[in-house]
């Protein structure tokens, strides 16, 4: 079957797009949904995915060239199958609907009022605005009859959070700690006083939390920090172990003046947060453990092995693939960003050292499972059912050991449900935070 790939429409004002890079070579096989070509418009960079299985038979717009919406980009078909380029060019182009963040018919008009002076807004918009402390009259209304729709409120919230985004550095124990924060007073939204601090795991960074910051920031202040040796934080060299991470995290809290926080840690980061929660309970208002280490010996670090031999793009990709149930989650920009971070001086050494100290012979040497019952704070355990690194069973056991703890399982996610099931994760986390 012959399938034409056309330049999609990602926004109502979009007229054309430029090819940044073809992710599949001509003559190579593709599966439906696979990343095919990265394209750039005036507003966004986005990836077109293959609309069908087959072989990418022809590329019609090469890298660097620009084509209008609806133009023929490429042809997918079975190997050797004949196709008629002219016919495909002339056929009705498929136009994708607007992507996330793009909005049709933005008029910049303030919301309309009805005969009795009330802002025209759907009940759902009204409720959402109220929950977040937004004044409807200040919002743009793009719903029917100039009303404020739920989308309008959501966009206003997202814009408020985006405005509050800060990136910076703190120093703890002489090490520079890079962080990003969002939410809180700076948004002008209703916000809770106790912030959330997000802690990544081995070979990770604040990039891990990209899909979560905005959602959490809409409700309360949230910090994501790069552990020493990771991301843009300092790489002091020497031994990178759980203790170092724990001390650094505490130092970060102090440096930011955060007396009580809710810690949310992933993988090794979970282990770190758990340790801190046990050592400094007075600083804790709640704990979230996501596919966390420190709950037992089992771990499969096979996905890290190539990386431990040396930082290459392939090794990075292998490492990333091991984190997800669905390999298609790993896209080019994710690999690029991770590879870049791991290529920084001292980063690789940090990863090797962390693995050596926490998982020396392919098992986790420190387990805090016995001490779980000491926890007296609200705990949420989040886990991907298809986690190939640390099994779900660990999470379930931990859940039964902690009085009053909550468990959330993402059925179709691997080691990183906060990415792979981001929307559900955010909903669940926010629900936990609200309680």
């Amino acid at each position: 079957m012959v399938t034409a790939v056309y330049v999609p429409r990602w926004g109502v004002t979009m007229e054309n797009a430029t090819v940044v890079a073809w992710l599949v070579e001509e003559g190579m096989p593709v599966v439906k949904g696979q990343d095919l070509v990265e394209m750039e418009t005036e507003k966004i960079v986005n990836i077109v995915q293959a609309p069908a299985d087959g072989v990418l038979r022809r590329i019609l717009v090469p890298k660097g060239e620009t084509a209008p919406v609806g133009a023929l980009l490429g042809v997918i078909s079975e190997a050797g199958e004949a196709f008629d380029l002219e016919a495909l060019r002339g056929a009705e182009a498929q136009v994708e609907t607007a992507g996330p963040g793009e909005r049709l018919a933005r008029t910049g008009r303030p919301a309309e009022k009805n005969q009795r002076g009330r802002v025209r807004a759907s009940p759902s918009a009204r409720r959402l605005a109220e929950e977040h402390g937004l004044d409807l009259a200040a919002l743009e209304g793009t719903g029917p009859e100039g009303s404020v729709s739920r989308d309008d409120v959501e966009r206003a919230i997202a814009a408020a959070v985006a405005r509050s985004l800060e990136e910076g550095d703190k120093t703890a124990e002489g090490v520079l700690l890079h962080y990003v924060s969002a939410g809180g007073e700076g948004t002008g939204l209703k916000t809770s006083s106790i912030p959330v601090v997000l802690v990544h795991g081995i070979a990770g960074s604040i990039l891990l939390w990209q899909a979560n910051l905005s959602a959490i920031g809409a409700r309360r202040k949230v910090f994501a920090v790069d552990l020493p040796g990771h991301g843009r934080s300092g790489k002091p060299g020497g031994r990178y172990d759980i203790d170092l991470f724990t001390r650094s995290l505490l130092g970060f809290l102090d440096a930011c003046g955060l007396e009580r926080v809710i810690l949310a840690g992933h993988s090794l980061g979970g282990h770190v947060c758990l340790k801190l929660a046990l050592e400094r309970p007075e600083r804790m208002a709640g704990l979230v453990l996501i596919d966390s280490g420190g709950l037992g010996p089992e771990i499969d670090v096979g996905f890290l092995k190539p990386l431990l031999a040396g930082v290459t793009r392939e090794a990075t990709e292998t490492m990333l693939r091991g984190l997800f149930a669905n390999p298609a989650m790993v896209n080019r920009s994710m690999v690029d960003a991770t590879f870049e971070a791991l290529s920084r001086p001292g980063a690789w050494e940090a990863v090797r050292s962390a693995v050596e100290s926490a998982v020396p012979h392919d098992i986790q040497i420190e387990s805090l499972a016995e001490r779980l019952s000491e926890l007296r704070i609200p705990v949420l355990i989040a886990w991907g059912a298809r986690d190939a690194v640390i099994p779900l069973a660990r999470g379930k056991e931990a859940h039964s050991s902690i009085p009053g703890a909550e468990l959330w399982v993402a059925e179709n996610a691997g080691h990183c449900p906060q990415i792979e099931a981001a929307s559900d994760f955010n909903d669940r986390l926010l629900k936990f935070l609200q309680e």
Binding site: N114, Q115, R116, R118, S122, E145, S147
Partner: protein
């Protein structure tokens, strides 16, 4: 100048006046000479048995015959004694009567009236107590009206008889003995215009027949409690006078519909849909519908009163639930 007459007399006067005015007008139905409910009382003495014509029991046959006569030069008024029995004539009323003009591309018209009485509350049970106007909403070509007092009964019925279009006229048994003022002079009322019976600002209530009177009572009580209720008599059940209802909802932001018929697919259901489509952003609360439950009318008068018929309490509860 005006007089006070009973609702049933208002209907009788309408027939008498229109039959005197136009010899093509005649009445046909079961026992119309004897007038079981008094609607056509005394008319046979004045106009004779040809024009006050008793028929066999056959609602569908009665309506069909009236249609045939209307298509060919007469102006019949066909009686269906209990509105429950209108369903026996469903094809004739809902399809044939209203569609004939259109189906013939305007070659024919059907200037006829079908008149009937709604209403329970007398312990008459499942098949003698119904309110069936809702079933005829949206029937093409048909105008469905409900008369809620003597004044509208006379004015609407006269207008219906004079109209060149077919009209389905619903009276109500419980109102037959209700007195009301009617003008001395000849008058007709517009068939498709709702009327605002009581002005108010906090909530709109649309109600007809006996429920209109209940709603007015509730409005008076609520007034003393600081709630201002606007009460509208829809008059025309189909097609609805949207403008009047929408203008009121835009003013008050709240709406309660009230009918004695069942809630499901009732008159209130259509009003609610129209308001939701056209005044969604003027509503401060959901539209509430008061109507009977989806059960047959119980034969027991006690059950009928306590469990079936909507009443002032139901209206009041619906209003307060959205304040």
């Amino acid at each position: 100048m005006s007089r006070k007459i009973l609702y049933v007399q208002a209907i009788g006067e309408a027939f008498a006046e229109e039959m005197a005015r136009d010899e093509r007008v005649f009445v046909m139905g079961i026992d119309v000479t004897r007038a079981v409910f008094g609607l056509t009382a005394g008319l046979v003495d004045r106009f004779g048995k040809e024009r006050i014509r008793n028929t066999p029991i056959c609602e569908s046959g009665i309506v069909g015959t009236a249609l045939g006569a209307a298509l060919t030069g007469m102006r019949p008024c066909a009686e269906i004694m209990f509105s429950d029995f209108a369903y026996v004539a469903m094809d004739q009323i809902a399809t044939q009567v209203g569609s004939w003009r259109y189906m013939t591309g305007g070659q024919y018209k059907a200037p006829m009236v079908i008149y009937t009485l709604d209403g329970g509350g007398m312990g008459l049970g499942y098949n003698h107590s119904g309110c069936t106007e809702a079933a005829f909403q949206g029937s093409p070509g048909l105008t469905v009206v409900a008369a809620s007092d003597a004044y509208t009964a006379k004015g609407l019925l006269k207008a219906a008889i004079r109209s060149d279009d077919p009209v389905l006229f619903f009276g109500h048994k419980a109102l037959l003995g209700q007195p009301g003022e009617v003008p001395d002079e000849d008058y007709i009322l517009p068939l498709t215009k709702a009327r605002i019976v009581r002005e108010g600002g906090d909530v709109t209530v649309v109600a007809h027949h006996l429920m209109l009177h209940h709603a007015l009572g509730v409005a008076a009580t609520l007034e003393k409690e600081g709630v201002s209720v606007e009460v509208i008599d829809p008059v025309c059940i189909s097609p609805l006078d949207r403008e009047t209802i929408l203008a009121s909802v835009r003013k008050t932001g709240r709406l309660v519909t009230v009918e004695e018929g069942r809630r499901t697919g009732g008159v209130g259901a259509e009003i609610s849909a129209v308001v939701s489509e056209e005044a969604f952003f003027d509503l401060d609360a959901p539209v509430k519908r008061v109507g009977a439950p989806p059960i047959p009318v119980p034969g027991s008068a006690f059950l009928e009163q306590s469990c079936y018929l909507p009443g002032p309490e139901d209206i009041r509860k619906a209003i307060t639930s959205i304040l």
